[in-house]
C-alpha cells in the first residue's frame, strides 16, 4: 500500500514536471545549436538536457543529426533533405544557404545519439517498439536516463509496460551515487519476478560497498529467488503433467487391448504412428484445398486419425490376433512382426525422413503465468485432450452397452457368451477402440514432436511400463501410473539429466513390480494361476 502511494505520488510529480516542460518551447534554436555545435562534452550535455523535454521535433532533429543530415552555415543550423533546407525548430522550408558545412560526430557522440534515439522510442506510438526500448534500457541501466524514464512512466498507459518501466527506473537508480536512492531501488526491485532482475541485483551486489545497501540487496535477492523457485517448481510440475498426459494417451489404448483383453500388442506404437501420419495427410489436404481454414485442420484430423488407426486395428485383429487369443507370448511375437511391416510400409510410402506437421497458429505461443513460467499452448492442448479422451473412454466403458459387454467378456468369457454376447465381435470392437485411441495419441503427439516411421518405437516401452505399473484391467491405475511417472521423470531430470532419469525410472519400475507384481491396482481373485 505504501509502495503504491509512493508510486502515485511519483507519477504526480513527473506529470507536473512534464507540464512545466511543455510550457517552455520543446526544442529551441539555442538547444538545436548546442546539440549540433561545439565540443563533444558540451553537445552531449545539451543532448541529454533536450531529451528531458523531448517532443517530436526533438526526436526528428536528433535522428537527423545521427543521419548526418544536419548542416551548419556559419552560426545557423539546418536540416538538409533532398537539397532543401529546413529550420529544425519550426520545420519550415528555408532558403538553402550557399556555404554548408557538415557537422562531425565522433564515435562517442554517435553512441550517445543512438542511446538517445533508443530512449526516444519509449514514446513511440507502437506498443511493441516501446516494449523493446524498455527492454534495452533494462539491460543497460543508466542513471542519466532517470528523468526520461519518469516522463515515460507518466505517459505510459499499458499496464504491463508500466510495470516494466518501473523496473527499468529502479534498475537505473541502482547505479545512483546516492545511497538512499540505491536502497530504495533495491527494495523496489524485490517486487520484480523477473530472472533479469536477479542478474541485475547480483551484478550490483558484486560492486556494492555500503553494508546497508548490500544487506538490502541480499534480502531482495532472496525474495526474488523464492518467487523464481516457485515458478521453476511449478514449471517442472507442469512439464511433468504434460509428459504424463502424453504417456496416458499412448498407454490408454494399450490399457484396453492389454489390460482388458490380455492382448500384447507390440504394434501399438505403430498404430500411434499411423494416427500421426493421418494427421499429416489431413494437414496436406487442408493446405491444398482449404487454405482459408487451415488453422482448423487439427479438428478434422482427430476423427480421421481415430478411424484410420481403428480400421488398421480391426484388420489386424481379424487377420492375425484373433487366432492367438490365450497365447500371449505368441501374440507378442506376431504383433512385433506386424510392427516391423507397418514401419517399413510407412517408410516405403512416405520416405524414411520425418515429415513436417505444423502447429495451427492458435497453438503457438504460450500462457505466461509467472515471469519465468510460460505454459506453451500446445502442451496445454495435450493435457486437455488427454483429459477429454480419458473421460470419453471412461464413459464408454462404464456407461454404454458396449462397455458393459467388454467388461463382461473380460471378467468371464464363457459366461458372457452363454448370456448371448457375441464375444468375437466384442473383441473386435474393443481392439478397434484401443487402436483408435492410439490414433488419437498419434494426432496429439504430431503437435509436439517429430513424425517419422520410428515414432511408435519410442513410445512402446514407455506405454507398456505405464500399463504394467498401473495394474492390468484398471483405467484408474493407468492414469495414476502415467501421471506419477511423468512428474517423477521430470523431477529426476532436474538433477540427474534426461538419460539417467529414464534409467532410474525403469529401475524403479522393475523394483516396484517386485513388490507389487500386479501393479498399483491388482485385480482381486482366488485363482492360483493369477
Amino acid at each position: 500500500m505504501v509502495h503504491k502511494t509512493i508510486s502515485i505520488f511519483k507519477t504526480a510529480v513527473s506529470i507536473a514536471s512534464v507540464l512545466v516542460a511543455f510550457q517552455v518551447h520543446a526544442l529551441t534554436t539555442i538547444e538545436a545549436k548546442s546539440i549540433a555545435l561545439g565540443e563533444t562534452d558540451a553537445r552531449i550535455e545539451a543532448l541529454n538536457k533536450a531529451m528531458l523535454v523531448a517532443d517530436e521535433k526533438t526526436s526528428e532533429f536528433v535522428q537527423a543529426v545521427a543521419d548526418d543530415m544536419v548542416k551548419i552555415s556559419g552560426d545557423n543550423v539546418f536540416i538538409v533533405k533532398d537539397a532543401k533546407a529546413f529550420d529544425p525548430v519550426t520545420g519550415a522550408e528555408v532558403q538553402l544557404p550557399a556555404a554548408l558545412e557538415d557537422i562531425i560526430n565522433n564515435n562517442r557522440m554517435r553512441g550517445e545519439l543512438d542511446t538517445a534515439l533508443a530512449a526516444l522510442k519509449l514514446f513511440n506510438k507502437d506498443e511493441s517498439i516501446r516494449a523493446a526500448a524498455i527492454q534495452a534500457l533494462l539491460k543497460d541501466p543508466d542513471e542519466a536516463k532517470l528523468p526520461l524514464l519518469d516522463k515515460a512512466l507518466s505517459a505510459e498507459t499499458v499496464l504491463a509496460l508500466k510495470s516494466q518501466l518501473t523496473l527499468a527506473r529502479a534498475a537505473a537508480m541502482l547505479g545512483s551515487a546516492d545511497k538512499s536512492k540505491r536502497m530504495e531501488a533495491a527494495k523496489a526491485l524485490a517486487e520484480s519476478k523477473d530472472p533479469a532482475t536477479q542478474l541485475l541485483l547480483n551484478d550490483r551486489l558484486k560492486i556494492e560497498t555500503e553494508p546497508d545497501v548490500k544487506a538490502q540487496l541480499q534480502t531482495s535477492l532472496t525474495k526474488i529467488q523464492s518467487t523464481l523457485g516457485l515458478g521453476d517448481k511449478l514449471g517442472i510440475v507442469f512439464t511433468g503433467i504434460s509428459l504424463g498426459s502424453i504417456l496416458l494417451l499412448a498407454a490408454l489404448g494399450l490399457a484396453i487391448t492389454y489390460g482388458l483383453m490380455g492382448v500384447i500388442n507390440m504394434a501399438h506404437g505403430e498404430l500411434i504412428m499411423i494416427g500421426a501420419y493421418a494427421t499429416y495427410m489431413v494437414q496436406g489436404l487442408f493446405r491444398n484445398y482449404l487454405p482459408g481454414v487451415f488453422d482448423w485442420y487439427l479438428i478434422a484430423a482427430i476423427p480421421v486419425a481415430f478411424m484410420t488407426s481403428a480400421l488398421v486395428g480391426v484388420a489386424l485383429e481379424r487377420s492375425v490376433i484373433r487366432f492367438l487369443y490365450g497365447r500371449p507370448l505368441e501374440t507378442l511375437l506376431a504383433t512385433w512382426g506386424i510392427s516391423l511391416m507397418l514401419m517399413q510400409l510407412v517408410r516405403s510410402i512416405f520416405g524414411a525422413q520425418n515429415v513436417g506437421v505444423e502447429n495451427p497458429s492458435w497453438m503457438s505461443g504460450g500462457l505466461a503465468v509467472l515471469p519465468n513460467l510460460s505454459l506453451p499452448y500446445n502442451r496445454i492442448f495435450i493435457v486437455l485432450f488427454a483429459v477429454l479422451v480419458l473421460v470419453g473412454v471412461w464413459l464408454l466403458i462404464s456407461k454404454t452397452r458396449l462397455g458393459l459387454f467388454v467388461r463382461g467378456v473380460t471378467q468371464n468369457r464363457p459366461i458372457a457368451s452363454c448370456m448371448g454376447v457375441n464375444t468375437a465381435r466384442i473383441d473386435t470392437y474393443a481392439f478397434a477402440l484401443g487402436s483408435g485411441i492410439a490414433g488419437l495419441a498419434g494426432c496429439a503427439l504430431s503437435q509436439i514432436g517429430n513424425v517419422g516411421p520410428d515414432l511408435g518405437q519410442s513410445y512402446i516401452v514407455d506405454s507398456f511400463m505405464v500399463v504394467v505399473l498401473g495394474g492390468v484391467g484398471q483405467l484408474a491405475g493407468t492414469v495414476y501410473a502415467a501421471m506419477g511417472l511423468g512428474i517423477l521423470n521430470k523431477f529426476l531430470e532436474g538433477w540427474a539429466g534426461a538419460v539417467l532419469a529414464k534409467i532410474a525410472i525403469l529401475v524403479f519400475i522393475i523394483i516396484f513390480i517386485q513388490k507389487r507384481p500386479q501393479g498399483i491396482f491388482a485385480m482381486k481373485g482366488r485363482s492360483a494361476e493369477a
Binding site: I264, V320, F323, L324, R327, P328, L329, E330, T331, L332, L333, A334, W336, G337, I338, S339, L340, M341, M343, Q344, L345, S348, V461, F464, M465, V468, V499, L500, K502, I503, L506, V507, I509, I510, I511, I513, Q514, K515, P517, A528, E529
Partner: protein, 374 residues
C-alpha cells in the same frame, strides 16, 4: 535324433547312434574341413571357402548359441526373455575391454588409454577397467557379468513370481535401460561408438586369416559343446522339472518342488551362454556398440528359436542359420523388403508353424513312417 518322449522310465542316451554320427560329421566339418578349404585350397578353386563366408558363418554360429540359450529358457521352461541381447552384449563388452587394452600404444592418440577416454580427456582408467589388461580376468568377466546380472535380476523376479508376459516386458525394460546407460559417454564404455579398431588378441593380430580361422573353429566347438550340454541338461531330471514348470507351474509347486531355484538356475545358464556367444562374436566382427542391446535384437533371438522349432534344441540352431542367412541375402538383394519378410516370418511362424521347421519336418517324417507301416 532320439525320440522326444517325455515320460521315459529310463534315461534316454544322450544321442542316438545316428545322432552321434551326424554330430561327429559336423564337428569334422567345422574343425578340419572349413580350415582346410579356407587356408589351403587356393582362392581360384571352386572349393575355396572365402573369408566372407568364414566371417558370416562364424557370426551365425554365435547367434546360434544365443538361440540355443533362448530355447533352454523359452522352449523348455516357458519363460520368454526379451533381454538376451543384453547378456550377449555384456559378454561382448567384457571381451571388447580386453581387446581395447591390447591396442596398447597404437591408437590414434598413442596413449595407454583407449582412444575414446583420451577424447573425453580422462587421465586414468576408471575403476571398472582395473583388470581389463588381463585376458584371464576378462574371460572370467565374460561369464560373471551376465551371470551375476541374471542371478540378481532373476532372483528378485522369480521370487515374486513374475511370469509370462510381465517377465518378458520387464526384461525388455532392463535391456532398454542398459542400452541407454551404455550410450552415455560417462559410463566408460565408449558411448555411441562402443569399441572398435581392435588390433590384437593375446598379442596375435586379430584380423589375420589364421586368427579368424581359429576363432571360427573355437566358436563352432563351443556351439557343439553347448548343444551336447543342453541335450544332457534337458534329458536329466532337472530338465524334466523345467518342462513340468513350463506346462503347469502351479502343479509342480503343489508336488513339493520349489520352481524358483530351477528357473533361476536355467536362467543364469542361459544368460552365461549368451555372454560367451557375445565374447566370441566381438573379435570376429570387430565392433561392439550399445545398439546390440536394442529391444529389437533381443526379440530377433526369440524368432530364430521360433522359426527352427521350440523345445527341440536342434531347431533354434537351424532357425538361427536360416533367418540370418536370409537376412544377409535379403539386405544385399532387396534391402527394402527385408523388414517385410522378417515381419511376415514372425506372423507366419506363430500362426502356422507353432512347432517350427523342425516340428514340421518331424511331422512329415512321422506321417511317412505311419503310412509305411500301414
Amino acid at each position: 535324433m532320439s525320440s522326444e518322449q517325455l515320460i521315459l522310465p529310463t534315461p534316454a542316451p544322450l544321442l542316438s547312434r545316428k545322432g552321434w554320427a551326424t554330430f561327429l560329421m559336423v564337428l569334422i566339418a567345422v574343425c578340419l574341413v572349413a580350415p582346410l578349404l579356407n587356408l589351403l585350397v587356393p582362392q581360384s578353386s571352386i572349393f575355396h571357402m572365402s573369408d566372407f563366408a568364414v566371417l558370416l558363418i562364424g557370426k551365425i554360429m554365435c547367434f546360434a548359441i544365443c538361440a540355443l540359450a533362448m530355447d533352454l529358457i523359452w522352449g523348455y521352461t516357458g519363460i520368454l526373455s526379451l533381454g538376451h541381447g543384453l547378456f550377449f552384449a555384456l559378454g561382448g563388452y567384457a571381451m571388447g575391454m580386453y581387446l581395447m587394452r591390447q591396442i596398447g600404444l597404437e591408437g590414434n592418440y598413442k596413449s595407454e588409454l583407449p582412444d575414446f577416454m583420451v577424447f573425453l580427456d580422462w587421465k586414468t582408467l576408471p575403476w571398472h577397467w582395473t583388470g581389463s589388461a588381463s585376458f584371464v580376468f576378462q574371460m572370467a568377466m565374460v561369464i560373471l557379468a551376465p551371470g551375476l546380472l541374471a542371478l540378481v535380476f532373476g532372483f528378485f523376479a522369480f521370487r515374486s513370481r513374475i511370469k509370462g508376459v510381465y517377465f518378458s516386458i520387464i526384461t525388455q525394460a532392463l535391456t532398454y535401460a542398459a542400452m541407454l546407460l551404455f550410450f552415455r559417454n560417462e559410463t566408460g564404455f565408449g558411448g555411441n561408438n562402443g569399441f572398435t579398431d581392435f588390433k590384437r588378441i593375446l598379442d596375435i593380430p586379430v584380423t589375420s586369416q589364421n586368427t579368424r580361422m581359429v576363432l571360427f573353429v573355437i566358436t563352432g566347438a563351443v556351439l557343439l559343446g553347448f548343444y551336447l550340454f543342453s541335450r544332457w541338461l534337458v534329458q536329466s531330471k532337472f530338465g524334466r522339472v523345467l518342462q513340468a514348470i513350463r506346462d503347469a507351474e502351479t502343479r509342480v509347486m503343489f508336488s513339493g518342488y520349489n520352481p524358483v531355484s530351477y528357473k533361476l538356475t536355467i536362467w543364469v545358464i542361459s544368460a552365461v551362454m549368451c555372454g560367451v556367444a557375445g565374447a566370441l562374436y566381438v573379435p570376429q566382427v570387430g565392433i561392439i556398440n550399445p545398439s546390440e542391446m536394442s529391444p529389437a535384437n533381443s526379440i530377433e533371438i526369440a524368432i530364430w528359436a521360433a522359426v527352427g522349432g521350440r523345445a527341440t534344441l536342434i531347431g533354434p540352431i537351424v532357425g538361427a542359420f536360416l533367418v540370418n542367412g536370409a537376412k544377409s541375402w535379403f539386405t544385399v538383394a532387396f534391402p527394402e523388403y527385408w523388414l517385410y519378410f522378417l515381419g511376415a516370418m514372425f506372423i507366419a511362424v506363430t500362426l502356422f508353424l507353432p512347432q517350427g521347421i523342425v516340428g514340421l519336418v518331424r511331422k512329415i517324417i512321422g506321417k511317412n513312417r505311419m503310412e509305411g507301416k500301414a
